[in-house]
Symmetry: C2
Subunit: 261 residues, 2 copies
């Protein structure tokens, strides 16, 4: 406690004790008295400092963890969270000129930013579409779609999980159904087959992650996820792919260009 001067409880305030304690620690983080990676005083020390029961201290720490300000590490202590490398996604990231390089966009961008990219958990299946996917692709529920799932990592840290759905009729006989879809990715394969891409529509939501997302993205408590649903339209207006993506909001800033006219 000698390192971190914390105030004492205000006996007059009707603010709950655990909230006051959370306020003190939050303030220390916001002012920089505790900075990223620093250890928060242990529960035992905080109990002694404030003269309250352990559950009260734990409640306060839980508030901060829910706000995404701290992480607890079993047996080591509670630490101020460090922010990972942030990846900026530009709205022209699917422009054709970025696709002719022969390398996937994710690889190029990550290496350009000085990180080491990895892609794993690649699974390719054929199944009937969900009602939502079917509606977006203007398909019947009994038609087949190819689902390509993969997980993206930067410096070994998972940041994004994505599943693409492509009508089976468009995928047959192409590398779309193989783990390595070839230079330029599946968009290049679809364009080779005569489906020239015209535009994409992207829906952006944010929410707290589900349990399996917490596991797959190794999310810290209190970190929301972006949920993107992108539909690719070919010239003529036909939807030829839907991509459903969940990404850590810690690792991404999305940027878009909006027209004025």
């Amino acid at each position: 406690m000698s390192e971190l001067p914390l105030p004492h409880l205000d006996p007059i305030s009707d603010r709950a004790v655990f909230r006051q304690i959370a306020d003190h620690i939050r303030h220390a983080i916001e002012t920089g008295a505790l900075s990223a990676g620093d250890k928060v005083p242990s529960e035992a020390k905080l109990m002694q400092h404030y003269g309250v029961a352990r559950m009260t201290i734990r409640h306060a720490l839980q508030i901060l963890q829910g706000e995404g300000l701290t992480v607890a590490e079993h047996g080591r202590g509670v630490f101020v969270r460090t922010r990972p490398l942030v990846r900026r996604l530009a709205s022209d990231r699917f422009a054709r000129r970025h696709r002719d390089l022969g390398k996937a966009a994710f690889i190029v961008e990550t290496e350009g930013a000085g990180g080491t990219p990895t892609v794993d958990s690649i699974a390719i299946t054929e199944a009937n579409p969900s009602p939502d996917v079917a509606a977006r692709l203007a398909l019947d529920l009994r038609e087949l779609v190819v689902a390509r799932t993969r997980r993206y990592l930067i410096n070994g840290q998972p940041v994004e999980m994505a599943t693409s759905y492509i009508p089976h009729a468009l995928a047959v006989g192409t590398r779309v159904m193989q783990p390595d879809s070839g230079p330029g990715g599946i968009y290049a394969r679809l364009e080779e087959k005569g489906h020239r891409l015209e535009r994409f529509e992207e829906e952006v939501r944010a929410r707290m992650p589900y349990r399996d997302e917490v596991r797959a993205l190794e999310l810290a408590p209190g970190v929301p996820v972006f949920h993107l649903i992108r539909t690719a339209y070919a010239v003529g207006g036909r939807a030829i792919e839907v991509c459903d993506t969940v990404m850590s909001t810690d690792a991404y800033v999305l940027t878009y260009e909006l027209p004025a006219s």
Copy 2:
């Protein structure tokens, strides 16, 4: 408990008891056995059903609340959260054709969706820009900017808080500095002054809200916020406005159009 059949604890599992209980209730919500607005069994009933201490039940309920699945109402009970009216923001929402109507975009859109729009907490101040705003507007830190802050509500429910920053030199002698900026809003005023808008750049982040945002937007626990920073560029490339917006992720889906070429 007769209404909601919950399983009992698995004595073999090494999954923590409070997690198992949270799993059961979450499953009931996901399968629709409990739907939006329904009351979760009271703590007392859950204690009896599972034969555990009250703190264990509370811990389980806290997990669900942190996931944004439930809300507790003091003296009434714990309820499955209801989703509010969702507003979809299109990427052409600042196109000039939407501005010539004489009404603010927010009003038109909300009325079109059958809601009642309100704008309050309007504050207009002059001050030096923050380093971030100054950089985006290519201003010196000693120059003045006009800050317009307002809060938007739908059916009395706050959904969005926004602050616009405009270089003082562009705002003098216009209604930009008055609470009612006139038909078409501040963009129309800036264009009248000869600053024809060319494009907007929007940065999208998501995170857990700060305390003051929880208050101002009346956010339920476990609901993240979108944080948008939009910069407006005039023909010639000059940045003429920065708008900083915090919105409930519950109330919004953002949609963007991406070019393929």
